[in-house]
């Protein structure tokens, strides 16, 4: 479960969002500049709200009134960025293992195999990120986030940097992820078609404000 009730002033732009989501995939939908990335970064702890609370899976990670701000690295979230941000000095195997090492988790070969199979990245393990295609990089980034065993997976336009055919290549993996990985997700996109396929709940943003909240059908209302 994710509960967000925050305000944040970023220069001229003011963000005010309040919603509670129980869905498996919460879609943050809006045009560019609507505050989607600022909102997801606030959930991640990368942006500190001016006022309000954020509760992830029952834990209050932000509460400005109580002076609570859990730093990003202790939020146990996974974050898949639009640009995969794989570590260039590590090979794919080490990239995948990074979150486990940083969180001090014991090795879990079964989970590792499940994720590697789910994303079809078994043949890439010994390669360097520089040698991968955009789609492959994004699949590895997904795997890397999943293997840190997050309680919430944040995806910021993970298909945004890919061309149309690559998008179609990744989308089935995301559907499988939703149905098999059992990790709730927040999925940021400006593409209604993408969200119709993936999301179970929609938060619609416009100029920093939540304009609609509900099932996927709110998308048909237009943004």
């Amino acid at each position: 479960m994710l509960r967000v009730d925050i305000t944040k002033q970023l220069g001229e732009f003011s963000l005010a969002a309040s919603f509670t989501s129980e869905g498996r995939v919460t879609g943050l939908f809006g045009a560019s500049g609507s505050g989607k990335t600022s909102l997801i970064n606030t959930v991640a702890g990368l942006v500190r709200p001016d006022r309000g609370t954020i509760v992830i899976d029952g834990e209050t990670v932000d509460d400005t009134a109580a002076g609570i701000h859990v730093p990003t690295y202790r939020r146990r979230i996974g974050y898949v960025f639009q640009d995969a941000r794989l570590f260039p000095h590590l090979d794919i195997r080490q990239n995948l293992d990074y979150g486990r090492r940083m969180n001090g988790l014991t090795e879990d070969p079964a989970q590792h195999k499940r994720v590697v199979d789910l994303l079809d990245i078994g043949t890439l393990l010994d390669r360097r990120p520089g040698k991968l295609s955009g789609g492959e990089r994004q699949r590895v980034a997904l795997g890397r986030a999943l293997l840190s065993k997050p309680r919430l997976l944040l995806l910021d336009e993970p298909l945004g940097a890919l061309d149309e055919s690559r998008k179609l290549e990744i989308l089935p993996y995301l559907v499988r992820l939703r149905d098999e990985a059992g990790v709730p997700m927040v999925y940021v996109s400006h593409d209604a078609a993408e969200l119709r396929q993936l999301a179970t709940q929609i938060v619609m943003l416009r100029r920093g404000q939540v304009t609609a909240f509900g099932g996927v059908k709110v998308l048909t209302g237009g943004a």
Binding site: A44, F81, F87, P88, N103, A145, L154
Partner: protein, 231 residues
């Protein structure tokens, strides 16, 4: 011409020892400072930045004299260190290492700072979302990606340290076997009748060491670029 005398060997080995120790001791401080300057904003940052570069622009004899006042036997820090820890810098090779370390510090810090600045902060952010605390982000992402720059800084600092003259001779004098480095030896030799050949040998050795260091620094810089591009 190519017969190196024992006195010259002593000077060469002393120079190497002084430069190696100076570089190794200065590097952790250099990395910490480079990180502060590259990644943090704080009050007095430009002042600190200027202070780091001071040995580069001050006359070396001034730096040497300031070191003597501070770290000499009756100096504020030097006196305390001698009384409490038994560390003496004045007229010892350790003092030469200190002088070389201070003089080479700006050259050491600069490439490290540039390479830390070049590390993509978005990668550091990604590391944080994967559960890495700030110091682990530094140890596992920032430092490895900046490593070629760190090595380049060390090589440049080493090259500067091995050739340092003004501050060293002011601070610890020119004592054969204790504080007479290659540079001070050359200085003595060219003031001695018949010292020309020996001086020429040491001059050639200095040039070889300096050029070698520059080539090494360049190689590290290229590897840095390749590394940042994930090759």
């Amino acid at each position: 011409m190519f017969e190196i005398s024992p006195t010259e060997w002593t000077a060469i080995l002393l120079s190497l020892r002084v430069a190696v120790i100076a570089t190794l001791v200065a590097t952790p401080f250099g990395v910490a400072l480079a990180w502060l300057l590259a990644r943090r904003d704080f009050w007095g940052k430009s002042l600190l930045d200027a202070a780091v570069h001071l040995p580069l622009v001050l006359p070396p004899v001034v730096t040497g004299y300031l070191l003597l006042l501070t770290f000499g036997k009756r100096g504020l820090v030097g006196g305390w260190l001698a009384d409490h820890l038994g560390i003496v810098f004045a007229f010892r090779w350790t003092g030469a290492a200190l002088a070389c370390g201070v003089m080479s510090f700006p050259l050491l810090v600069r490439p490290i700072r540039l390479s830390i600045e070049a590390v993509d902060r978005r990668l550091e952010q990604a590391a944080e979302t994967l559960g890495a605390a700030p110091w682990r982000v530094f140890a596992t992402v920032t430092l490895p990606l900046a490593l070629p720059g760190v090595l380049a800084g060390m090589v440049l600092g080493f090259a500067k340290a091995i050739g340092e003259f003004g501050a060293t001779i002011t601070f610890v004098s020119n004592i054969p076997g204790e504080t007479q480095t290659i540079s001070s030896a050359i200085y003595s030799l060219i003031q001695t009748p018949d010292g020309d050949t020996a001086a020429a040998r040491l001059v050639i050795i200095s040039i070889v060491l300096a050029v070698g260091a520059l080539v090494a620094a360049e190689v590290f810089a290229r590897r840095a670029t390749a590394r940042l591009h994930g090759q």
